[in-house]
């Protein structure tokens, strides 16, 4: 999906007129860097961020199985999402296809914690703030049959996505494990690992680029981990660290490593 004309107009106006711009319409993509805000509730806290005069709802606290995981106070957050017309949550505009990544440098200004406000009630929290009922919030329900993927045939390609400027982290064990498991079945003769330096086109027109050697650093780290884990095949390590362009559409996917296993 490419930016709509309206989005482009909004982008140019945003840079020129700032707060005069009205809240984006449902369906519009939005991308910005701002401080996250945590608001307490009587159950789990919710996460918000202010941008351009509006407050956006980002996610709630859940557990490590959440698809959208909360940001970090002490850091700005890079937000990508598509505005919806759903009722506000915690006072914030609701987005879908939300992707959050903490910016790596510390920012002491990002330290806003709001107290419980009875107007804001989280009634859909999949996990309370204390002990769980025995399983992770977003794990399949007990008894859900596990579907085994078919045996791999031919070259297998995996994309691993990263936080801004960052390398391997808590996000990656299951993806690394998937590659490792596939390699065990496929018995590849070659592995290609390509790291990419990402970029973002923000809603205000700013092009945000990752640090210069990020693609190489990621490729070498991922290749090293997979080799040390036991994938001992000829490995090509490549990277794309040239100045990256971005179009504001799913730019989070630009921060990646692609691994290809070739039989």
């Amino acid at each position: 999906m490419k930016p709509t004309i309206k989005t482009l107009i909004s982008l140019s106006l945003a840079s020129a007129a700032g707060s005069l711009i009205a809240a984006p319409d449902p369906g519009e993509r939005i991308s910005f860097v701002s401080c996250p805000i945590v608001r307490d509730t009587v159950s789990v806290p919710c996460w918000l961020s202010d941008y351009d005069g509006d407050t956006y709802y980002l996610t709630i606290q859940s557990d490590v199985s959440a698809t959208v995981q909360p940001p970090l106070l002490g850091h700005q957050v890079l937000v990508e999402g598509v505005v919806t017309d759903e009722p506000a949550i915690c006072g914030g505009i609701v987005m879908e296809d939300v992707h959050l990544t903490a910016m790596p440098e510390l920012d002491a200004n990002c330290n806003t914690m709001l107290p419980v406000d009875e107007r804001y009630v989280i009634d859909f929290n999949p996990r309370p703030p204390g002990p769980s009922a025995g399983r992770l919030a977003f794990d399949p329900a007990p008894g859900t049959p596990r579907v085994e993927p078919p045996p791999p045939e031919g070259p297998q390609t995996f994309d691993i996505y990263f936080d801004f400027d960052k390398g391997i982290s808590f996000r990656h064990p299951r993806f690394l494990q998937q590659i490792f498991t596939t390699a065990g079945k496929l018995k590849p003769s070659r592995m290609t690992v390509t790291g990419v330096r990402g970029a973002h086109l923000l809603s205000n027109g700013t092009l945000l680029q990752e640090a210069q050697n990020t693609g190489r650093r990621r490729a070498e780290e991922v290749a090293g981990l997979l080799q040390d884990a036991g994938i001992e095949v000829n490995t090509d390590i490549k990277w794309i660290d040239a100045r990256a362009e971005a179009d504001g559409i799913d730019d989070w996917q630009s921060r990646r490593v692609t691994v290809t296993l070739t039989p």
């Binding site: 106070l73 769980s132 009922a133 494990q177």
Partner: protein, 537 residues
């Protein structure tokens, strides 16, 4: 605290008769001697006799007395019980109990039965008095602040005598990882880190940090890798260390910095680094140590305030027998398994028909409240690396059990090093620096400078001051600076002080640290309840 009421157990499995001997030790006013006449039904034991006299309290390597199938030792809060599931251990010739080292030490030197198989400061101080510093416990290699200091002078052993800390000398830079940071010595009260031989820039290229020995009980739980352990560590994505015997990843939760990950590795490493053995331990010796450690359980068995802790009908997760019965590798931060199962057995107890019973019930209710506080009381956990950085957000509104989630032990089920601030500025215990303070810093202080071309530490930036870089000395990772592996909660009453650097002298200081660190604002009642709860584990 005296331990003078109701000491004859009425448990089903064991009958004790006991007598008490007053000692000069202020920390152990009473020493309990048990004569076990019971049968240890569950393990098929015959009658055992467990004698503990004042001189018996210290277990010197090379003694050939047996370690009974079950024995209790007094502490400030009651008695800790040790249970050998395989029955009486014949220690004569046993590698855990023999002085294998050239310095006269054995494993038991620093893993004393009376101290829940760790060693407490009162025990260390008593041993100093009894031997005038001549015991192998005070060996130069790590029982002194630095090996080059005069042997046998109290000042040379200050960290061991005051805080129960042994010197741990680690290579710098790390042997098996690329360092993402440089280290400078900012403060060196022991003199070791600036020494021309032992210092950071010395001949040996070592860094000296000072740590408490961990308790060698319940290691079936500690070494279990059946939950949350995979080739790639869940919290960081890095590779988990493999068990060299099985080739499988392990939880790495045994040591403060996770440098040795199996019981055999730890034993071999300790034999070399603490006992100064001439030759590596043999496979047979290592297997025997491992076998012993995997069948040994320990927990507080008697509470001065609450009486017997493992009576029939009581909580299923309390007492040494519960540890022997429990399942390892289970996540307990949930309402199906619980971390420390208590089934509300001590909630809403009757007032009691006597003053003694009323007092006991009031104490047990306090314990129950402490448990509930541990399990349910939320607070903001903020800026703690490897908990706030693993996808939960910073801060998170959670409870003690979020991090201390392993069923029965309160450890982490998965690879569990975190930075709570016990060794890192600004939270580490430091004396006040002012013109009016006479208190001198005891711990070294290092400045860690993380590489500018890599992302900074998530909460401390690129310049970190620390008393002990913890896991980072092994991984080389900036994000691991000050991260320490969570340890078990069992036998706490027997083995003060707490935290890897001994910075909490007692259970109250331990609770106070968390209160201060996370701005919890516990009430006095909550603190008392938590201390009481911790004291019975």
């Amino acid at each position: 605290m005296e331990n003078d009421s109701g000491l004859i157990s009425t448990q089903n499995q064991w009958n004790f008769s006991e007598m008490k001997i007053q000692t000069k030790d202020h920390h152990r006013l009473w020493l309990v001697i048990f004569t076990m006449t019971a049968c240890f039904n569950s393990y098929g034991q015959t009658a055992q006799q467990a004698m503990a006299s004042r001189s018996d309290l210290w277990w010197a390597p090379g003694e050939d007395r047996p370690l009974p199938a079950y024995i209790e030792y007094a502490n400030d809060y009651g008695r800790v019980g040790l249970l050998n599931a395989s029955g009486t251990i014949i220690t004569d010739g046993h590698p855990f109990f023999e002085p294998l080292g050239s310095n006269g030490r054995g494993c038991v030197t620093c893993h004393q039965p009376s101290d829940a198989m760790s060693i407490s400061v009162p025990t260390i101080q008593q041993r100093w008095q009894d031997t005038h510093g001549a015991d192998p416990l005070f060996a130069a290699i790590d029982g002194k602040d630095c090996p080059n200091l005069p042997q046998g002078e109290e000042e040379s052993h200050s960290l061991l005598l005051k805080r129960g800390l042994f010197r741990v000398a680690l290579p710098w830079p790390p042997k098996n990882a690329e360092a993402e940071f440089d280290i400078e010595v900012v403060r060196d009260p022991t003199g070791c880190n600036t020494d021309p031989v032992y210092g950071l820039d010395g001949e040996r290229h070592e860094i000296s940090v000072y740590r408490r020995p961990r308790p060698a009980i319940n290691l079936r739980y500690v070494s279990s890798s059946s939950f949350g352990v995979s080739p790639f560590i869940g919290k960081t994505g890095m590779l988990a260390t493999l068990d060299p015997d099985t080739g499988r990843p392990v939880n790495m939760n045994m040591m403060a910095d996770a440098r040795d990950v199996t019981l055999k590795q730890q034993a071999q490493s300790a034999a070399h680094g603490h006992m100064e053995v001439a030759q590596p331990l043999t496979p047979a010796q290592l297997s025997r140590i491992q076998e012993f450690e995997l069948q040994l359980y320990g927990a507080q068995a008697w509470s001065n305030g609450g009486g017997a802790l493992n009576e029939p009908g009581g909580p299923s997760g309390i007492g040494p027998q519960a540890m022997a019965n429990g399942s390892d590798g289970v996540l307990g931060n949930n309402t199906t398994r619980y971390v420390f199962p208590m089934e509300n057995k001590w909630a809403d107890l009757p007032e009691g028909s006597s003053e003694e019973e009323a007092s006991r019930n009031a104490f047990l209710e306090s314990v129950q409240r402490g448990h509930d506080n541990f399990f349910y009381r939320t607070f903001w956990i903020k800026d703690a690396t490897h908990i706030n950085t693993v996808g939960l957000g910073n801060p998170i509104k959670r409870t003690c059990a979020t991090c201390h989630g392993m069923h029965m032990t309160g450890m982490d089920t998965a690879n569990g090093w975190m930075d709570l601030g016990t060794t890192n500025y600004p939270w580490a215990l430091e004396p006040p620096e002012s013109p009016w303070s006479q208190e001198a810093p005891e711990m070294p202080l290092f400045k860690v400078s993380c590489r500018a071309d890599l992302p900074p530490h998530a909460f401390l930036g690129r310049t970190i001051y620390t008393q002990d870089p913890g896991r980072a000395l092994i991984s080389g990772k900036c994000e691991d600076v000050g991260a320490i592996v969570i340890q078990q909660f069992r036998g706490l009453s027997a083995r003060a002080p707490y935290f890897s650097n001994g910075s909490a002298a007692n259970l109250r200081e331990l609770v106070d640290f968390y209160d201060r660190r996370f701005n919890i604002r516990y009430t006095e009642q909550e603190k008392t309840d938590l201390v009481n709860f911790l004291s019975i584990l």
